[in-house]
């Protein structure tokens, strides 16, 4: 593949598929799935096949499919592919526009990860961002404005950052930018660019759009949270370590091997992980719960990117990958549940695990990944981030991350118990498992989680390639094990002995078949009642919530709302000038002229 083909295959092909499917109302999503599958296949086998190239499309577009863009492209395309596959049954109205925008977002995302100059990055970023806006608008309606406000803020920040880079270096290419910029210019440009990308990652305090946008159609949200939010990660990674590079980062001063410029971002990430987790614990709407959980998990990624050691950056990339897998499964699991019971409130569900065992198993594995249970690769990325923080003795970041991971157990159990275990609510006894086209996408994403738990060396080799490509450093790993300066872990030994221990426990437990007992027989001791609601799901963590109440009442979201209202009042006052009376306007012009003359005379 030449660089010419990159543009055609990964940008034009999905965009074309989108346009095509737009006109095929009934089969739109199926066609879109097919196109994204083809793009995914090309991406997967395109590893190391194309170098950097320049494409002339009115301006110079620098595209490249190197280790970094390949990894992110495969990840995003995989999530997009399965999300579309899941949508075939899930999306019932407006299939054409749905698949059009999904594929357009996919094309934009592919363009973003392939871009090696700021202008094409910005163009593709906007294509992606506006497609997402229209997808959010489709189902969230009014709440989409929260997203668009932040998307515009992000775009403006990116544009300002790009402007600073161009002003000083005269070049928009990443590699060209390093030469021209002084350290202070880098400081300004990097801050603007990173904050712009952080909006997409939903780092506190720029996260308020996420809970609303993540309440849209869940298959799209699987793509948004799993795939597209990783573009924020990609952006931060690229500006920090590809455009600027470790030497520039370390030029700001070094504190315990970590750039002083990166440290505040790492701290912000740890705070995000903590806040996102704590808020997620108390949500009753499962979409909001997963949204805050996404915010928290991407906080971990931000920690790794900010710390900037090979172990930390590798852990961040790995965690972004894991998050793409398990969070997409979770959102699709929620979609599957919604498809059957038509509710998103956890307190109205319960007991669905017995009726939908395959969905439950997929969600359970994803939860293992989210909680970092060592049977999935979710553990390994968290391990890398913890060890990176501990080996350099970051005594604020490390406890925040560790406690946040304990908090994650709380909301994980909330999902498992509230939705899948406990009592089945009345009227939901006849719920059936979803079809194979909904189960298959979930299980496709479960495979990497389990596979890379046993063979972490495979994925760490790719990540190592990326780190070497960006001159960050090397990871220390073998096929089954990995190590830091202070510790190590061997997954083959762990999983092997876990298997043995499990067999021993099963052998101890083997018993003759027993009678299944109805819940009422047991709990009500045989007393005949027609229906009692016996599911402790409403306001589950109430005692904890009471303790946190004074803090939870302070919401940054409401702070922004107050700020917005204040602006509204100000602009209402401004609006009073527009009286509609020509004489008033004539007076304004006269006044302006007077000011102009006076100021001009004064400045003379």
């Amino acid at each position: 593949m030449g660089h010419q083909d990159l543009f055609w295959l990964f940008v034009i092909l999905p965009a074309f598929g989108g346009i095509l499917s737009f006109f095929l109302e009934r089969y739109a999503v199926a066609v879109a799935t097919l196109f994204s599958g083809v793009v995914l296949a090309f991406a997967m086998f395109g590893y190391g096949m194309a170098g950097m190239g320049v494409l002339h499309v009115g301006f110079e577009m620098h595209l490249s499919l190197d280790a970094v863009s390949w990894f992110f492209m495969v990840m995003i395309d995989l999530v997009g592919f399965v999300a579309l596959m899941f949508s075939m049954e899930f999306i019932t109205d407006g299939k054409g526009s749905f698949s059009f925008f999904m594929l357009l977002a996919l094309a934009g995302a592919n363009g973003v990860v392939m871009s090696r100059d700021f202008l094409s990055l910005y163009i593709f970023w906007e294509i992606m961002s506006w497609s997402v806006f229209l997808l959010v608008l489709r189902s969230s309606g009014e709440w989409a404005k929260k997203y668009i406000v932040f998307a515009v803020i992000s775009a403006v920040l990116l544009l300002m950052g790009i402007g600073v880079v161009y002003h000083y270096s005269g070049s928009l290419v990443y590699s060209g930018a390093v030469k021209g910029l002084s350290l202070s210019a880098w400081g300004v440009a990097l801050s603007l660019l990173i904050v712009g990308f952080m909006v997409k990652m939903a780092v506190v305090p720029l996260h308020v759009w996420a809970p609303y946008a993540y309440s849209s159609e869940q298959t799209f949200v699987a793509f948004l949270s799993g795939g597209l939010s990783k573009l924020g990660t990609f952006g931060v990674l690229v500006v920090m370590y590809m455009a600027a590079g470790v030497s520039v980062m370390h030029g700001f001063g070094v504190f315990k091997n970590v750039s002083l410029f990166g440290y505040p971002f790492a701290l912000l990430g740890a705070i995000t992980a903590f806040v996102g987790t704590i808020v997620a614990v108390f949500q009753d709407d499962i979409r909001k719960l997963l949204a805050y959980s996404s915010i928290g998990q991407l906080g971990y990624v931000m920690v790794g990117l900010g710390l900037g050691m090979p172990l930390a950056v590798g852990g961040a990339i790995f965690h972004a990958f894991n998050h793409a897998m398990f969070k997409s499964v979770l959102f699709m699991g929620v979609a599957a549940v919604f498809y059957r019971v038509k509710t998103y409130r956890i307190s109205e569900m319960g007991g669905l695990g017995y009726k939908m065992p395959f969905t439950f198993l997929a969600v359970l594995t994803a939860i293992f990944g989210l909680a970092g249970i060592p049977v999935t690769s979710g553990f390994i990325s968290k391990w890398m981030l913890y060890e990176a923080a501990i080996q350099n003795r970051f005594v604020i970041i490390a406890p925040l991350m560790l406690v946040a991971s304990v908090g994650a157990f709380l909301y994980c159990f909330r999902i498992l118990y509230g939705v899948f275990l406990g009592q089945i609510d009345r009227g939901k006894e006849e719920v059936k498992e979803v079809g194979v086209w909904m189960l298959l996408p979930m299980y496709i994403l479960v495979v990497p989680l389990l596979l890379f738990a046993l063979f972490p060396g495979w994925i760490l080799a790719w990540i190592n390639d990326m780190l070497v490509y960006m001159n960050v450093g090397r990871l220390s790993y073998t096929t089954y094990s990995f190590s830091s300066l202070i510790g190590n872990a061997d997954m083959l030994l762990f999983l092997g002995s876990f298997f043995v221990a499990f067999a021993i426990a099963v052998a101890l437990f083997v018993k003759r078949p027993a009678t299944n007992v109805d819940q009422y027989d047991n709990y009500l001791s045989g007393e005949v009642r027609e229906y009692v609601r016996l599911h402790a799901a409403y306001n589950f963590y109430k005692p904890l919530k009471d303790v946190w109440a004074p803090l939870l009442n302070r919401s940054i979201d409401r702070g922004y709302d107050a700020f917005g209202k204040m602006l509204g009042v100000v602009f209402d006052r401004v609006k009073l000038f527009y009286t509609g009376n020509p004489q008033d306007y004539a007076a304004y012009v006269g006044l302006a002229f007077l000011i102009f003359v006076v100021v001009g005379w004064w400045l003379r």
Partner: protein
């Protein structure tokens, strides 16, 4: 090959012994508590009789397959923890995984147990797990800070290295006494002894998560909790009391292992008895009180310990 098999057999022996020690400790706790409360109490081997009886019981009722999953997951998880935790200086897999891995393995049995409790459909079980998780969030705050202090002071996350360093330069309780205090406070909650037996509070929520488990299920879960006692006490001993290692196995061979095991046993018994004494005389907190308590005093103490570790290390 024979060496490997030998290692596996010795490891299995250690795990088996650990669970026996746990059952014995349960019996000791019942006896000691009874004597403190001026009762006679059951014999110390009562727990062995109970487990034997429960495991040989004919199967009774069940709920669903997730419910069956719980005891299996709980017991296999606790076996895994015991394999990764040095006991009496014997380091089975401890060099192949570190404290972070251990912390996460420690979640596995609890998670399996919680799944089964949830699948029992009893609201008391749900409330019990909610309390257990809230309690976990409470005591983990001081505990992770303590772990961090130990890890940055000794500059390692590996328990093997930690034991080695404590063997050569002295126990961590001498170097980091403040952290040890916070760790012991966290341990009381981790072992769910009073005043933190909130999740299993028998008088309020009918033993909480355990409520629907009987017969063979309960037998398996008794083995799990017996292993859990050894895990928690042993973790404290490994972190702060040098893991009970007094003789170097490289020099004294078999006798070193024997002596170390005896010392380790005495140390975990001491740690366990502190917990039992506190348990015998305290009433129960409410869960939000426990949360406030843990995020207040033990956390402050743990932070002081962290400051000490940070500056001693320089």
């Amino acid at each position: 090959m024979t060496v490997m098999l030998e290692n596996w057999l010795v490891s299995a022996l250690y795990v088996f012994l650990a669970i026996c020690v746990g059952l014995l400790f349960g019996g000791i706790a019942r006896k000691v508590t009874a004597r403190i409360q001026n009762r006679v109490g059951p014999p110390v081997y009562q727990n062995f009789i109970d487990v034997g009886k429960l495991l040989t019981k004919k199967s009774n009722i069940r709920h669903n397959w997730i419910f069956d999953f719980a005891p299996v997951f709980a017991l296999s998880g606790v076996i895994m923890i015991l394999l990764y935790l040095p006991m009496g200086g014997y380091r089975m897999f401890a060099s192949k995984g570190d404290l972070i891995l251990l912390m996460y393995i420690m979640v596995i049995p609890a998670l399996g147990f919680a799944l089964g409790a949830g699948a029992s459909m009893n609201p008391n079980a749900g409330v019990g797990v909610m309390r257990a998780l809230t309690l976990m969030l409470s005591y983990e705050m001081p505990f992770v800070i303590v772990l961090l202090s130990v890890m940055i002071y000794y500059d390692t996350a590996s328990l093997t290295t930690l034991l080695g360093k404590q063997f050569s330069v002295g126990w961590a309780i001498v170097a980091l006494p403040i952290s040890a205090v916070a760790a012991d406070m966290a341990l009381q909650g981790m072992m769910m002894e009073k005043p933190f037996d909130i999740p299993i509070a028998p008088h309020e929520i009918a033993s909480g998560p355990l409520v629907e488990f009987g017969g063979k299920y309960l037998g398996m879960l008794m083995l799990y909790s017996a292993g859990g006692i050894v895990v928690e006490t042993s973790l404290f001993v490994d972190l702060f009391l040098g893991g009970g290692v007094v003789l170097d196995p490289a020099v004294y061979g078999f006798w070193a292992y024997l002596v170390n095991y005896v010392v380790w046993f005495a140390l975990i018994l001491a740690v366990w008895l502190i917990a039992v004494f506190v348990n015998a005389v305290f009433p129960r907190f409410r869960i939000e009180q426990a949360f406030k308590f843990y995020w207040k005093w033990p956390t402050v103490i743990a932070i002081l310990g962290l400051v000490q570790a940070y500056f001693l290390k320089g």
